[in-house]
């Protein structure tokens, strides 16, 4: 089978799953009654206070909320970077909250992709080595055709041998996106991926993330505080004071802004 046809097949399948009203969409990752408490006794602060939320396969979700709303904590708990105080996280069929560190590490390596706001790349590795890092950590062989497709789509072909210090901020972030996608993870988490970029580079990166969802059927969860960035997503989940505070489908910058204003009010 040709990769192209494989892709189109996936696209079709996921296009159906993308819309919640189409029966029962498959869930990529699910949080149930998540609580995360920092500190003890009187000084205890609940960063997450009973959050239950599902993220469907092939869907691009943005998590939004004011500073301190718990959006980063939610993402860290979902991604197995942090363990919640109580509640469950289900990645596919796997319950993450009970897993020891080594198993969580393997899951991050093999089933999850990351794009961070800054410091995404290891300075001593070339762009290509950075892209292949999660695969090589797990001694997995990269799918050369998929890698070529990613490099081509992201416009990194002539940058592969460069060190991060020789790349622009936008290029660095595109390398990070390629790294997140190369292992075909079940979910890609992006934490303020455009926070350090100028608006053009930011738009490029967001465009790629959306394309990965539309064309390659990737599931993406993005934390952001920028309504414009959130407007690239299929759905926006609002968080305030560690609680779920609303949802928005097919967001536009204005509708997001409105929703945020209501939260602030």
């Amino acid at each position: 089978m040709e990769p192209g046809s494989d892709m189109s097949l996936q696209t079709g399948e996921l296009a159906a799953g993308r819309l919640p009203q189409d029966g029962m969409p498959r869930t990529a990752i699910r949080a149930h009654e998540l609580r995360k408490v920092y500190g003890q006794g009187d000084t205890a602060v609940a960063a997450l206070d009973g959050v239950s939320v599902d993220f469907a396969v092939g869907n691009f979700t943005a998590i939004m909320g004011p500073s301190g709303s718990g959006k980063s904590t939610l993402m860290h708990c979902l991604a197995g970077l942090d363990t919640p105080t109580s509640g469950q996280v289900l990645l596919g069929e796997t319950e993450l909250t009970q897993l020891p560190d080594a198993a969580l590490t393997k899951i991050r390596r093999d089933r999850i992709g990351f794009v961070f706001q800054s410091f995404n790349l290891l300075p001593m590795l070339s762009a290509k080595d950075n892209i292949l890092l999660p695969l090589e950590l797990g001694s997995r062989k990269p799918d050369q055709q998929w890698l070529a497709t990613l490099v081509d789509v992201l416009g990194l072909a002539d940058r592969l041998t460069h060190r991060p210090s020789e790349l622009s901020g936008g290029q660095q972030q595109r390398v990070a996106v390629a790294r997140a996608l190369v292992g075909r993870p079940e979910v890609v988490f992006a934490d303020e991926p455009t926070g350090n970029l100028d608006s053009r580079s930011g738009a490029e990166v967001l465009g790629f993330l959306r394309r990965s969802v539309r064309e390659f059927g990737q599931t993406v969860v993005m934390v952001t505080h920028d309504p414009l960035a959130a407007s690239y997503a299929d759905r926006v989940v609002m968080l305030a004071d560690g609680k779920l505070a609303g949802e928005l489908y097919d967001p536009k910058p204005e509708t997001v802004l409105d929703a945020l204003r209501q939260l602030g009010a």
Partner: protein, 807 residues
């Protein structure tokens, strides 16, 4: 403060080592003062036979002086003593005991001092060795073959004596044992109120020339010097090693401060932003260094003194073959290490402190940027390094060919400074080469290699400390092994036979060779025959040895080659007696048989040696008169000699000689030198490894975000730990490899410079102590791994999420 702990440890070790050396030295010197002082207690003046011996007449003249109250001549008789259980008697010195009220007599641990001529007191250790009890009788024999039976009435306290003490008997008894005994000296006590100097002057006036009078104190000083010369040399060596240890500690401290300040760049910049002057920043860093230096040095001194107290106590408890001394503290051995440690710490912090003043206030406001790799100073340093290397190398070559030790030392120091200077280039290059292998194993290893060479200056500085220690240890091992091999070859020429046993008039028992072979440490036994022959009216004792087996006991192949029928190997004095030259022929006669042989020089064998075939032509029925033995080089030489001395019980007398006594004496010296050298330098390696661990843990702090990213990407804790282990291992192995290579070069050059002028033919043997060098590399590797344990644990603890949180 926590990050300075490792630097403190380096200072503690360096200072502790110095304090240990000084305390041990002062305790030993003090102990010798006390022991010798006790020996000459009550002695106001002493007469010493400098070039002429002391006659009884002289003693009488001294005694007659009005200032003199008491006179105690030191006379010693040497007698063969038969101890129960021994086959043959051993030689025992017996000192004469004089009644005296002022001058101290030897103390006893049990029993009493002899009063009658048939009584004797033995040194405690000797009595214990031979299981002699009080009241036991001993048979003693003089060289004139006169024998006496004496009773052991007391045991002399020889706890603090140097070497084997002497037995004592009454003055009258010693006079009987050896009527014309040699007087070693005369102890004199003056009448009350006599000034010792006046006394000594008065005594000197009645002494013949060549006999010298000292005051009591003057003599003690003279005697102490005899012993302390050795201790002072040892103290010097200790001191040198302490300085090396402190220097290595300096490197570690300097490195630590550099990193600490690099990490505090923002803090420093903030200080400058709010108005701190450069001078204030500088003095704040120096103040910190001073506090660290004083505290760590104080701990070091306590540690060193405690350790020397422990070592001295243990040497008292267990017999280490050294006279036990008690701990003696003086101000110097406490305050000198304290001062030097503090100064070293401050000195090491000056460069980092100056760097701290260069932090721009703006640095507080922008994110940390990695410093540029190459600066002008870096290039200058490299050029200087290569110049030093070339110059030092040239000096080394000159030292090796001209046998100039001082030039060699200079060349070594200069070229080593060169190596340190080019270290920023050399060490990362070597790490890359060595890292090529693990880098193939996977990403974590590749990252480890990349991390190890990321900051060439820091890596070079870290490895420099280890490099110094390993180089010096390797140098010591290679140098001692080479000098030893050179000695061995030269000894093989001078003393080609380890041991010879011989009897004069008695018959060797038929099983003698088996009995000898059964002794532990004896590897080869070859019989020899002796015959007395005549040539030109003079008698010569001729030795015959089997040509085929001679090679197994004669270590010099050249000599074995010369030994063949028709040739006689003779020593120089035999040539003189024969009035012949090497290569000329001589005819020797035994009874009716005659034999003509060509003379060849044969150093180190018997005076006149033939093959046993030739000897049989002269005396077909000559009995076996002795054996030549080869010994295991690893065996305890003095034990083997003692066992051989006590072997063949059917013989009354057995003469044992050969090169083994000399060989085992120097073997022991080399072993002690090697052990002391390795032990002392090991401390500097220990300090250096503290430095490696220190650098690693600071690098771990610096790379918190990187490591967190790797963990987020799926690097397991185990992979992270092994990554740091590989990084540490690479640094340790490169330092060890480079150090061993340098050690070989310096060790060989040093041997050539030191020994080239000493051997007969100017040839020097170069040894590669493979076992020791591999052990050094292995220890460095293991220690490198250990050094990474704590930093790796800390790195693995960091939660990936926390470290990645945006600021």
């Amino acid at each position: 403060m926590g990050r300075l702990v490792a630097a403190c440890l380096a200072i503690v070790l360096g200072v502790g080592f110095g304090a240990l050396a000084l305390t041990a030295h002062s305790s030993a010197s003090h102990g010798i003062d006390e022991t010798i002082g006790a020996q000459y207690k009550g002695v106001d003046a002493y007469v010493y036979p400098d070039r002429e011996s002391i006659t009884p007449a002289t003693v009488a003249k001294v005694k007659a002086l009005p200032q003199v109250a008491e006179v105690v001549p030191s006379a010693t008789a040497y007698l063969e003593t038969s101890f129960p259980g021994l086959v043959r008697s051993v030689s025992l010195p017996i000192d004469a005991l004089y009644p005296s009220t002022q001058i101290a007599s030897p103390g006893t641990t049990s029993g009493k001092l002899p009063r009658a001529t048939n009584e004797i007191a033995l040194p405690n250790k000797l009595a214990a060795k031979h299981n002699v009890m009080l009241g036991q009788s001993l048979r003693i024999t003089s060289y004139e073959k006169k024998s006496w039976t004496v009773t052991v009435v007391g045991l002399i306290d020889d706890q603090s004596a140097f070497g084997q003490g002497a037995a004592v008997a009454t003055q009258a008894a010693v006079k009987i044992f050896e009527p014309d005994g040699y007087i070693q000296g005369v102890k004199i006590a003056g009448k009350p109120g006599t000034d010792p100097q006046v006394l000594a002057d008065a005594v000197q006036k009645v002494l013949p020339s060549g006999v010298q009078a000292f005051t009591g104190e003057g003599w003690i000083e003279h005697e102490v010097k005899q012993y302390t010369n050795g201790i002072d040399v040892l103290g010097g060596v200790f001191g040198m090693f302490a300085v090396i240890a402190l220097f290595v500690a300096c490197l570690v401290i300097g490195n630590t401060f550099t990193i600490v300040i690099a990490q505090r760049t923002r803090e420093m910049a903030l200080l400058r932003c709010v108005g701190a002057s450069r001078r204030q920043v500088f003095s704040s860093v120096l103040a910190e260094a001073t506090v660290v230096g004083v505290i760590a040095s104080a701990i070091g001194v306590v540690f060193g003194v405690a350790l020397s107290a422990l070592a001295l106590a243990m040497s008292r408890e267990f017999d280490w073959g050294i006279p036990p001394v008690s701990l003696h503290l003086d101000l110097l051995s406490i305050f000198l290490p304290l001062l030097l440690g503090t100064i070293a710490t401050i000195a090491a912090a000056v460069v980092p402190a100056r760097r701290a003043t260069k932090v721009a206030p703006l640095a507080a406001l922008r994110p940390d940027v990695a410093p540029a790799a190459a600066s002008k100073r870096g290039v200058f340093r490299l050029i200087l390094g290569f110049v030093l290397l070339a110059g030092g190398g040239a000096l080394l070559a000159m030292a090796a060919t001209e046998h100039q030790v001082i030039v060699g030392v200079a060349g070594g120091v200069i070229s080593f400074l060169g190596v340190l200077a080019v270290g920023t280039l050399l060490v990362p290059a070597l790490i890359r080469v060595l890292g090529a292998l693990p880098a193939r194993a996977g990403v974590p290893s590749r990252i480890a290699v990349a991390n190890a060479v990321r900051n060439p200056k820091r890596t070079a500085a870290t490895t420099a400390a280890l490099l110094i220690g390993v180089t010096l240890i390797s140098l010591t091992c290679v140098g001692i092994a080479s000098v030893r091999k050179t000695f061995d070859v030269s000894m093989d020429g001078q003393y080609p036979v380890d041991l010879t046993v011989m009897t004069y008039d008695e018959k060797m028992p038929p099983s003698a060779d088996e009995q000898l072979k059964a002794i532990k440490g004896i590897t080869q036994v070859v019989p020899i025959h002796k015959v007395v022959v005549k040539s030109k009216g003079e008698e010569y004792s001729v030795t015959g040895i089997d040509q085929a087996t001679a090679g197994s006991v004669i270590h010099s192949p050249a000599l074995v080659d010369k030994l063949k029928p028709g040739t006689a190997l003779v020593d120089y004095s035999t040539l003189q007696r024969l009035q012949l030259k090497e290569g000329s022929k001589v005819t020797i006669v035994s009874g009716k048989n005659t034999l003509t042989v060509t003379l060849q020089r044969g150093l180190g064998l018997d005076p006149f040696n033939l093959t046993s075939t030739d000897l049989a032509k002269l005396a077909p029925n000559a009995p076996i008169s002795g054996y030549w033995l080869a010994t295991d080089p690893k065996a305890d030489g003095s034990k083997v000699i003692e066992d051989v001395n006590q072997s063949l019980p059917s013989l009354k007398e057995l003469e044992v000689s050969g090169g083994l006594a000399k060989r085992s004496a120097y073997t022991q010296i080399f072993d002690v030198l090697l052990a002391v050298g390795i032990g002392l330098l090991g401390v500097s390696v220990l300090i250096a490894l503290v430095g490696v661990g220190n650098t690693l843990s600071l690098s771990v702090l610096e790379r918190t975000r990187e490591n967190a990213l790797l963990r987020a990407m799926g690097l397991t804790r185990r992979q992270l730990r092994s990554m740091l282990a590989i990084e540490s291992l690479l640094m340790a192995l490169v330092a060890a490899g480079l150090g061993i290579a340098l050690g070989l070069v310096y060790g060989w050059t040093g041997t050539s410079a030191l020994m080239g002028g000493q051997t007969i033919d100017g040839n020097v043997e170069y040894a590669v102590p493979v076992g020791l060098l591999v052990a050094i590399a292995a220890i460095a590797a293991v220690a490198g791994l250990l050094a990474s344990v704590l930093p790796a644990r800390r790195a693995a603890k960091v939660a990936p999420a926390g470290a990645l949180a945006t600021e």
